[in-house]
């Protein structure tokens, strides 16, 4: 959890907006530190977290989580965290001889054209589960975290199927169960002759659905060792605010967190 990011976004583990769909995207940069922030944030807040970790192993997230002060292994044991490890199960799904039932979460690896229904059923099961076996452990509102969604494009799933999946998840998690959703999407450069199936199309579709968009990019002036990039925060008007709010910050990622500062005020420059 990054304290500076909490103050920028006006949220703390004790008080945060519910039914929020947060989109983290990047273009030629790496926004995965935001996923670690939200993972530790919601685990501290006591929410039930369903994490689809499609690009890294569980030990990676738990090692970073330890530095940020949460223990993922403990959370998983207690039932607070449901973790789908994509990498570990992927080669098993691809190399098995007989195709098992189609509602396996990773069944899209074998038949990418069929869509993501198996994955959605897995998510639905995880967020609807209440502590049936435990001694009345009730967690907070459910949270769905996905890292990252654009890898599904590389595995052959179409943009339409992914957008359907996110719509189903939003309807279930945000509207029905009053929970939150955080999705990471990684994009390519804006290409003039970009074909229809692209991560840019996916990102535009998701920006249309989300409430808060955090976009990470490199500095427009080039590579700098001490400022790792710029983050653009965009809030969708909700409730009494009628105008779009958009702010830009620079950031630097450390070992134990990230620091955010206004443009031009990095300690390397001053």
């Amino acid at each position: 959890m990054f304290p500076e990011l909490n103050s920028i976004l006006n949220s703390t583990p004790d008080s945060f907006k519910s039914s929020d769909f947060i989109l983290a995207s990047d273009r030629r940069a790496d926004a995965s530190f935001l996923i670690h922030h939200y993972l530790s944030f919601y685990l501290r807040a006591g929410c039930k977290v369903c994490f689809l970790g499609l690009v890294q192993s569980f030990s990676h997230y738990s090692a970073v989580g330890q530095r940020l002060g949460v223990s993922l292994a403990q959370a998983r044991e207690k039932g607070q965290l449901v973790f789908l490890e994509g990498l570990k199960d992927s080669f098993g799904v691809l190399l098995q001889d007989t195709s098992q039932q189609e509602t396996q979460p990773l069944s899209f690896l074998r038949s990418p054209g069929a869509g993501l229904e198996g994955l959605f059923r897995f998510v639905e099961r995880s967020v609807r589960q209440s502590g049936d076996g435990d001694a009345g452990e009730s967690w907070g509102p459910p949270v769905l975290l996905i890292d990252d969604l654009s890898v599904l494009l590389s595995l052959g799933v179409s943009v339409g199927a992914i957008l359907d999946f996110t719509l189903y998840c939003q309807a279930t998690v945000c509207s029905e169960l009053q929970g939150n959703m955080v999705i990471l999407v990684r994009c390519e450069e804006e290409d003039a002759d970009d074909d229809e199936e692209g991560s840019n199309l996916l990102q535009r579709g998701l920006v249309h659905q989300c409430n808060l968009a955090l976009h990470i990019e490199g500095l427009p002036t080039g590579y700098c060792r001490d400022i790792h990039g710029q983050m653009e925060v965009w809030w969708r008007p909700r409730g009494e605010t009628i105008y779009n709010q958009r702010k830009i910050f620079h950031f630097k990622v450390h070992d134990k967190g990230a620091s955010f500062f206004a443009r031009g005020t990095s300690s390397a420059v001053l």
Binding site: D30, S32, F33, H36, S57, S59, H60, A63, V64, R67, G86, L87, K88, D89, S90, F91, L94, L95, D97, S99, L109, R110, S111, P112, S150, V151, L153, S154, L155, G156, R186, E188, E189, D191, D194, D195, G198, S199, Y223, C224, R225, D226, H228, V253, H254, D255, K256, G257, A258, S267, A268, V269, L270
Partner: protein, 397 residues
């Protein structure tokens, strides 16, 4: 200082120079040819080129995938692959080599020969210290303190060093090469799998199956009981994505199996993460027209570098590049088990292949803009303007 050494020589024959024993954490696996990273404790292996190890943050982490985008004539990327395999032979790691164009045996025969430290005397020492004998002609007269030390070990059988140097003008001796256990996969000799509906096209499916079989059989994923010493498996996959692998991502703008290579890399990374192995994959990226595909492939690997050689291009005659053979671009560095990664100083790197070394140097110096640079202090101006010079001296007006 004299007394302990003399006492040591009489009592223990282990060849230690001091009696200080470093207390090693029992959990750390000690495999020859690896070392833990200073940054995040990951187990690293050397890629065979020490300057490349430095550029990618100390070495290749075990369980990760290094993607090398080939240069136009595949000369330097093939050289990197050979360095990687030669390093595996010298450290005693197991190898897995897959290629579609040249037979793996040919690549193995072309491995560069390692440069041995001690030229005179290849005989390995017994390890026992011999008592100083006045009749023995080998008795040292001046450096007699060192008489009881074991001789310099020159055999490469158990090399604990990290990173070696190779002489590219000579090929590795056949005995050394045969001593290494190498699994080979030659695409043109594999029978295509025709049955069933495999999600991946046949060559990639067969390659994935073969890699998984090797990992399981040799116990790299910890499935077999630990009766043998743990070792690292080095995988070298040459020119994936080229037409010889049955993939048309290099020839078509909209290939029929455009996700075959990316799905394969995803599954390969899954296999690597769950075993003690490290892989280097070379891809002919200059043939792939669709830039989005290359971006996806880079995202799916951990470390990604690209080689751009000057041979045959107009940069060959550019005086700026006259000392170098090509440029090295680092496209991606992994963040393993930590938030931040090793951020390089500069991204302008050039390489040069000399006979005994593959050097990578920075081309220009970056502007000196960092948090630790010293700046001319403005306090002498502030003292004249205002009485209170105790404010933040960087923001004084």
């Amino acid at each position: 200082m004299a007394a302990p050494m003399r006492g040591m020589a009489g009592s223990s024959n282990t060849g230690n120079t001091t009696s200080f024993q470093k207390k090693t954490h029992s959990k750390l696996v000690s495999i020859p040819g690896t070392r833990p990273s200073v940054q995040n404790g990951q187990l690293l292996v050397s890629s065979g080129v020490s300057s490349l190890d430095y550029v990618i943050g100390g070495g290749l982490a075990v369980g990760t995938l290094l993607l090398v985008e080939e240069d136009r004539f595949d000369s330097y990327s093939r050289m990197l692959l050979k360095y990687f395999l030669a390093e595996g032979v010298v450290c005693g790691h197991e190898l897995f080599l897959a290629s579609a164009r040249d037979h793996p045996d040919e690549i193995m025969q072309e491995l560069p020969s390692p440069i041995v430290d001690d030229v005179a005397g290849i005989k390995m020492s017994e390890g026992q210290s011999q008592p100083s004998d006045p009749e023995n002609p080998d008795t040292m007269k001046i450096a007699w303190r060192y008489q009881n030390q074991p001789r310099v070990q020159t055999a490469l059988v158990s090399s604990m060093r990290f990173g070696h140097y190779y002489d590219v003008s000579k090929t590795m001796e056949p005995e050394l090469q045969q001593a290494a256990k190498c699994h080979r996969f030659y695409q043109l000799q594999e029978t295509p799998v025709t049955k069933g509906s495999s999600p991946l096209p046949s060559p990639y499916q067969a390659l994935l199956k073969s890699i998984q079989t090797v990992i399981r059989k040799e116990g790299f994923d910890g499935s077999t009981p630990q009766s043998k010493v743990r070792n690292v498996l080095r995988l070298g996959l040459h020119s994936l994505g080229s037409v010889l692998w049955g993939d048309d991502v290099c020839c078509n703008d909209n290939p029929a199996h455009c996700h075959a290579l990316s799905t394969f890399l995803y599954a390969l990374r899954g296999l690597l993460r769950s075993s003690l192995s490290v892989a280097i994959v070379t891809v002919p990226s200059h043939l792939i027209q669709n830039r989005a595909v290359m971006g996806r492939i880079i995202r799916l690997s951990d470390t990604a570098i690209a080689l751009e050689s000057f041979r045959g291009s107009e940069k060959e005659t550019n005086p700026l590049y006259k000392d170098y053979h090509g440029l090295l671009h680092v496209h991606q560095l992994p963040r393993l088990n930590c938030l931040s990664c090793e951020v390089p100083d500069t991204k302008d790197l050039a390489f040069k292949l000399k006979r005994k070394q593959f050097t990578i140097e920075r081309l220009h110096l970056p502007p000196d803009l960092s948090e630790t640079v010293s700046r001319v202090s403005k306090t002498e101006l502030a003292a004249g303007c205002g009485s209170t010079a105790t404010g933040n001296k960087h923001l004084d007006f």
